[in-house]
């Protein structure tokens, strides 16, 4: 009798353990599969918002050098070494592009090189130069998607069930990601920050971006995309302090095939950290409009 009841207990424990392990595997397996760069992050079950979605709220920042150059690059002197010395110099960095290199069409690669040559000698709209000269960042233009995600400035995500706001310190660049929004861009125009539609795929926030301006650059060396670009971003909480970010860029006018970038966003952890104001228009007026002034005033 006693042995029998012991056996029942053991069998029950084993059964419960098997079910438990099976449940744990079921719960963990998708999380592990959703991490963008396998091997970089252990599997993680994110904390959730009231509507049950992974909580991406917070202030985040990338730590790559992709804003200088998406591809691998050595350190450089920058555009104005005679004025700025090491202040204006550019850090070396590794590529965030899968496979290392952006697959340009030949004619588009020529445009990239022309962009680079003009990067620090901007045109203004009235010059009538198309495509415009100069890195949009240097001119204090909105810097587009996905560039806003890897510039060396923090960004804040404010997540609601119907719309996700992503706002960046640089120039107050902001996009409203409309959740489960069916329509393509409703106007016959393009947007520097694109037309952003979001959806949840498992635990990833997937953002579909179209309607981008053909004036956007992707970095300071003149990598670019056009108004036919389709960017699909995927944001996956990888720990309380990291978002695994990836973006696939498809633009048959510019690239021979779709290509992908990935990097982590780090949560800014300083006490009371906040986005500071960075209104750059006054900082670029002399550079951009100085040649039209009677006498430069600063």
């Amino acid at each position: 009798m006693r042995n029998r009841s012991n056996a029942v207990i053991v069998a029950t424990v084993v059964a419960v353990a098997i079910v438990g392990i099976w449940l744990a595997m079921r719960l963990q397996a998708p999380a592990a599969a959703q991490v963008a760069a396998p091997g970089q992050f252990a599997s993680y079950t994110p904390s959730r918002t009231a509507d049950g979605k992974p909580d991406l709220n917070g202030i985040w920042q990338s730590l790559t050098t992709a804003n200088w150059d998406l591809e691998a690059h050595g350190a450089g002197a920058g555009a104005y070494p005679h004025l700025l010395g090491a202040w204006g110099a550019e850090p070396g960095g590794q590529s965030i592009v899968e496979g290392g290199v952006i697959p340009y069409r030949p004619e588009a690669l020529a445009r990239k090189k022309a962009n680079f040559a003009s990067r620090a000698t901007p045109s203004v709209p009235g010059d009538g130069v198309e495509p415009p000269l100069g890195d949009p960042e240097m001119k204090c233009w909105m810097t587009g998607v996905p560039r806003m995600m890897y510039m060396p400035y923090p960004l804040q995500i404010v997540q609601t069930p119907t719309a996700v706001l992503i706002t960046q310190e640089f120039n107050g660049n902001t996009r409203i990601v409309r959740m489960d929004w069916q329509e393509e861009t409703p106007v016959d125009n393009t947007f520097f920050m694109g037309w952003n539609r979001g959806r949840w795929e498992g635990d990833s926030l997937v953002i579909d971006v179209t309607g981008l301006s053909d004036k956007n650059w992707l970095d300071r060396v003149g990598n670019f995309l056009s108004d036919t670009a389709h960017v699909v971003e995927r944001l996956t909480a990888a720990s309380p302090y990291h978002i695994a970010y990836e973006a696939t860029i498809e633009d048959s006018k510019v690239f021979s095939r779709p290509w992908k970038i990935s990097f982590p966003l780090y949560r800014r952890m300083e006490r009371d950290v906040q986005l500071m104001e960075f209104k750059c228009q006054p900082f670029v007026e002399e550079l951009v409009y100085g040649r039209f002034t009677k006498k430069p005033t600063t």
Binding site: A50, F191, D272, Y289
Partner: protein, 373 residues
């Protein structure tokens, strides 16, 4: 206490609890109306909360209206109009704001070139409460008198420089980008034209979208793409030496009202002639306190109190209703396509090449009427 009294009190308590439940459900409209004088519908509506317990202000709003900031002289001391008076004033204002009319001569035509195609239709309607002015305090509905004091020699110098800059701008002889105002320079919207705090109706883009997350309220303005992140977590303000164009806001909840105080404006010398805060007040002594209260499913009452003892003889308060809209907010490009800056500066240099000279007494090159929002 006798048994009967205890029973009576018990019955009374049950009746009161029952009545308050019914009242809360809006089923005793006559009772609430009798006590509060407000319609039962308004009582029945309960201000919604976010899942984490903050009052929920979220939505897309339009704060356009033709109700003037200051009470027009034609309605004298009336604070609220009758239906007929409102109808008359609305049509008078619609005529004045009309940009397609052609009765002002060539200069007015030019200044109305942002014609009615640009006009937000909300800009043609009075507020639903038929007030005669957006200013609710002081009672005369007008901006208080400015403080009169003798300018210091330095201030007098700055005033003369600012006047000359204005004359250069108005006569089309801009020397530099510093002769444009902050709006033309795509830095911020002019402070008397909405698109930021105080949020006042303008010709177009009277749109704001409110987002909330634990610890934050964000008000996104369409004009010059401005996401105003307002912490509501009690954190301290930035140190005074940190200057910003739009100020650094801190929010708190008072009941169902979001109260926002904003400071850390850059000083006047860094701005140019039009100023960084409302009325070109002194950014160092200027105070702005805003109150956002959701008063119904479709409306936020936006109340803003402005004060600066160096500028106005007393504080004043403006109330603008924000009404929910089904429209969406779109990207506002400014710096990216700032043809104005090129045309004005390039045009001025071309005129100089032709031998024309700046004359501060020359008539304005732009029309006077209708250019304001």
């Amino acid at each position: 206490m006798s048994g009967r009294l205890r029973i009576s009190l018990g019955v009374l308590a049950i009746v009161l609890v029952g009545a308050s439940i019914l009242a809360a459900r809006g089923q005793l409209g006559w009772l609430t109306t009798a006590f509060t004088g407000s319609p039962a519908g308004a009582e029945a509506w309960t201000a919604p909360k976010t899942p984490w317990g903050d009052p929920d202000l979220q939505g897309i709003y339009n704060y356009g209206t033709s109700t003037p900031l200051q009470r027009p002289r034609q309605v004298s001391d009336k604070q609220v109009m009758s239906d007929d008076e409102a109808k008359q004033l609305q049509s008078d204002l619609a005529y004045r704001l009309d940009r397609d009319r052609r009765d002002g001569g060539a200069q007015a035509d030019v200044s109305r070139s942002y014609n009615d195609a640009w006009m937000d239709p909300n800009r043609m309607r009075l507020t639903a409460d038929k007030r005669t002015s957006l200013i609710v305090d002081p009672a005369d509905g007008r901006i208080p008198a400015r403080v009169e004091r003798k300018l210091t020699p330095q201030e007098e110098k700055e005033r003369i420089a600012a006047d000359l800059s204005t004359r250069r701008f108005n006569t089309g002889f801009q020397e530099s980008y510093r002769d444009m105002d902050v709006g033309n320079r795509c830095i911020i919207r002019r402070r008397n034209e909405g698109g930021g705090h105080p949020y006042l109706p303008a010709i177009y883009n009277n749109m704001a979208q409110i987002f909330q997350a634990p610890g934050y309220v964000v008000i996104y303005s369409e004009m010059i793409h401005f996401a105003r992140v307002i912490p509501v977590d009690g954190r301290p303000a930035l140190p005074d030496n940190v200057g910003t164009w739009l100020g650094d806001p801190r929010g708190r909840w008072e009941g169902n009202t979001l109260v926002v105080e904003t400071k850390n404006f850059i000083s006047r010398g860094d701005v140019g002639r039009t100023g960084v805060v409302y009325g070109n007040a002194n950014p160092e002594t200027f105070r702005i306190v805003e109150r956002f209260t959701r008063v119904g499913p479709e409306t936020i009452n936006y109340e803003v109190t402005l004060s600066d003892p160096e500028t106005w003889t007393r504080p004043f308060t403006i109330m603008v209703p924000w009404n929910k809209t089904n429209e969406q907010i779109y990207e506002y490009q400014c710096q990216e396509l700032n043809y104005d800056m090129y045309h004005w500066l390039h045009g001025a240099r071309e005129r100089e090449k032709r031998g024309e000279k700046f004359d501060p007494n020359a008539p304005d090159a732009r029309g006077g009427d209708g250019a304001e929002g």
